[in-house]
Symmetry: C2
């Protein structure tokens, strides 16, 4: 029976028929379980995280299938883009919004927006120009100007999924909310830029084009946010008004999950940014709707969304690992090994340069400084978008390079991030309660890092330089603080009585 | 924007393209939410339940789409069989196993098996013969002998999904475990019968054929059960040995859900009964694995599976409602209105006759008597299996008739079941503690109904007739009781220390 099962698996892998679906689901589910167990066992190891484990296990399984099917095919589940956008991405982003520390997120809102909008513009410009200038030099130069811009967008957008795996919200709340928030806003920017570039006639660029793109972004951002918040508020109101918990806890949970999903799909239907919408829907739901359900529903929703998101994340990394050995793609590439290495080097350098070019200046501008520039894995979203077209050898080269880059960034930076954070953090752990003078923050390097890695009150009163920076930062933060106070009042007086949630006074 | 959205919806409905998927998911999600709210509001109404609500709302939405798309198409989400078997059915059955009252279920095991195996054989024989004899008389007689047998199987298997919606496990535990248990075992029987009939050469029937079918069934039943139990035990062991809760609650929940799903898919891969496998996997997991996880995981798993199952159930009824107005099927039918009514009448009568023919004798045999014969909605599984072939006018007639029958049984029997149960139950509600003499159980009818609807101890010591029946029933129940005692000892001494769970002494 075992050998016939293998035969069936092999046949399924090479044909991808109806019984193939069952086989692939079996293999994927089993390997997912394996990843869970491996991730659990490696939990205390600070060099390895779940995404790296999933990537490596995915590679091994891909190699096994490749050998068993005698080199015919390595990826067993034909991954179509829809599967990713319709089923895998929404729970991850919704959960992120649901669990994010709202105070921290909104406190850093301006910084996040500047990273997510202007930062991406800067990065796209640098990366596109770099590709245009450098790619022909490594023996690869068959692209249109539009393609260079598209590549610039792809390699400039960061990946929210991978980021969440590596950075801990509890240890470095500010870093988390900045990096993650930027990733979410980033998505909206890249949607707008991608559409703009797609419709752009490169020969007739007008000076107003950039302004139009920024205008489009602001419109998209506003409408997506409003849609998400509206659906979240509506759900909260219905849950409060009808008091579902009276009859059934399951109905509450089901309603929250379905409405969240609906917000994402509606946004996609209306050509808005589904990611932004479902993210804000998550924030609103955890702020209002969550308080209107029974105690067991609260526990369930916290875990149900986290679990779904967890499975979806592991699935993605696993898939990328298995997909890496897809021979069809590698065969279509006509580039030589030397060219490939060249392309790979160019991409990695340009990504780092592009990131550094906006993270450092913008950080200084808003008083934040980061080791963040080293953490820029490519968004899987675009990697998958690109994966669709494998017939063209030029595209194939780009795709294989992208896979290598994804691997490199995930593995190398993934390995480095945790030790780096813990190397910078521990000496400042034992600080006094809020307002106290933090010890050992004398070197300029520390002064840059501390406000970013620690809590807000960590960089208390330091040297004169730090104090000067703080007064600038206070000026920048005051409007946010004022907005926050008014919002709290408004929230307590009007929103919470209608939509639910505890009073803060 | 609204009108363009409608246009898009109409286009998507008629073409079913890529943007069609997004539209259909939006519509389905929104209507599912509507069903949830409607179900909540109608909760206290004893005549209507959630399945009926979903069916009716589905019909209305189907009609709306039909009108909006100007009669071109009414079903917006092309339902393929795989979607049902791969995503919708497993959570429903797993949850049933996870939440079922194990003691009650195993106590009635012999009865359930006799209903599920011999009962189905009897019913298939009667329904097939009835079709063979009656269908030509209402002007419809173009089928092979094999087709009659297939129809017999389809209309003899009951639907576990609908049953769970109507009967409450808390009010009538015995009825619930019998009807539901039969539905699960039933599935295995019908899988075996279907395969047997498919491969059967009707002209060369041997006398050993029936024995072979029974042997196949026992083999299938045993292997499916063992597979499910093994995977459940393995999960319990891993959870206990590695103590996942130490690091992450979500990993525990994810592992349980994934392993349960894996059991179903593995069974399907090995051509076993996925339903039986995942059902027993659910039983084992709730008996062992559930005790090895953290407190919040326990709450979460209870609700996560119930919620998934709930959404899946509502989805099915909604889909059937929307599917009922699919014009393609109705147009292909060539039967006249009179013939249709005739076929419908034949099917309903034969189902009732077939059920009565095995429920009553088998009930008497094992001392249970039931109003169950009136509760026999067609299994959706086979309705969907049949839905695949719409080009043939004969098939189309059968399908449309099946839809009518599904509607009729769900609506009429669904409406009647709850009032019927509560009409029989309340007078026996206020009975004394165990062993006490139940009041007012003097009519023979009550003596038949009581042991079925009440708890085991309800029919205490009644008239001589009842006592005679009880002594026979005791003789039948003693081996089960003995097995139960040995099992408890074995469970306490060997199983629970390894796989987890509280000691019973």
């Amino acid at each position: 029976a075992a050998s016939s099962l293998w035969d069936e698996l092999v046949v399924a892998a090479s044909t991808g028929g109806s019984s193939g679906t069952v086989v692939s689901i079996c293999v994927f589910t089993a390997v997912l379980c394996l990843c869970l167990v491996a991730g659990h066992l490696l939990e205390e190891n600070k060099w390895v995280n779940e995404s790296i484990t999933a990537l490596i296990i995915g590679c091994i399984v891909g190699a096994l299938i490749f050998l068993l099917s005698k080199g015919r095919n390595s990826h067993i589940l034909r991954f179509d883009e829809q599967l990713f956008f319709i089923y895998v991405l929404p729970p991850i982003i919704f959960n992120a919004g649901f669990q994010v520390k709202k105070k921290q997120f909104f406190h850093n809102f301006l910084t996040i927006m500047s990273f997510g909008v202007f930062g991406v513009f800067i990065s796209v410009a640098i990366v596109s120009a770099g590709f245009y200038w450098l790619l022909p030099k490594v023996g690869f130069g068959k692209l249109d100007a539009v393609d260079y811009l598209a590549l610039g967008v792809i390699f400039s957008s960061t990946d929210t999924v991978c980021t969440l795996q590596v950075i801990s919200q509890d240890e470095t709340p500010r870093l988390y909310s900045l990096v993650f928030g930027e990733g979410v806003v980033n998505d909206a920017t890249s949607v707008v830029l991608f559409n703009a570039i797609k419709n752009m006639d490169i020969t007739k660029i007008k000076s107003g084009a950039v302004l139009k793109v920024i205008g489009d972004f602001l419109y998209l951002f506003a409408t997506s946010t409003i849609l998400g918040a509206t659906i979240g508020l509506f759900t909260a109101y219905v849950l409060k008004a009808l008091y579902f918990g009276r009859h059934s806890t399951d109905r509450e949970v089901a309603l929250m999950a379905l409405m969240a999903y609906l917000s994402y799909m509606l946004a996609e239907l209306l050509s808005l940014s589904g990611i932004l919408t479902v993210f804000f829907c998550g924030i609103v739901m955890s702020h209002y709707a969550w308080h209107n359900v029974t105690e067991s529903s609260r526990i369930t929703t916290r875990h149900i969304f986290a679990t779904l998101s967890f499975i979806a994340e592991t699935f993605i990394f696993l898939y990328v690992g298995m997909d890496a050995l897809d021979m069809d793609k590698w065969k279509t590439t006509q580039a030589s090994f030397k060219t490939s290495i060249g392309i790979f080097g160019v991409i990695i350098s340009l990504i780092l340069l592009g990131r550094a070019a906006f993270v450092f200046p913008l950080s200084i501008l808003s008083n934040f400084m980061s080791g963040n520039s080293e953490k820029a894995p490519i968004t899987f979203k675009h990697q998958f978008t690109f994966s669709g077209v494998t017939q063209d050898p030029v595209h194939a080269t780009i795709i294989t390079s992208t896979i290598v880059v994804v691997f490199f960034t995930t593995l190398v930076f993934g390995f480095l991030t945790r030790p780096m954070i813990s190397a910078m953090l521990p000496q400042h752990r034992h600080r006094e309660p809020a307002g106290g003078r933090s010890t050992g923050s004398n070197s300029p390097k520390d002064e840059f890092i501390l406000p970013f890695l620690g809590d807000e009150d960590a960089s208390g009163s330091g040297s004169g330089f730090v104090q000067a920076k703080r007064s600038i930062s206070m000026m920048l933060e005051r409007p946010i603080h004022t907005v926050h106070i008014y919002w709290r009042k408004f929230d307590d007086r009007f929103m919470r009585p209608i939509f639910g949630g505890p009073r803060s006074y």
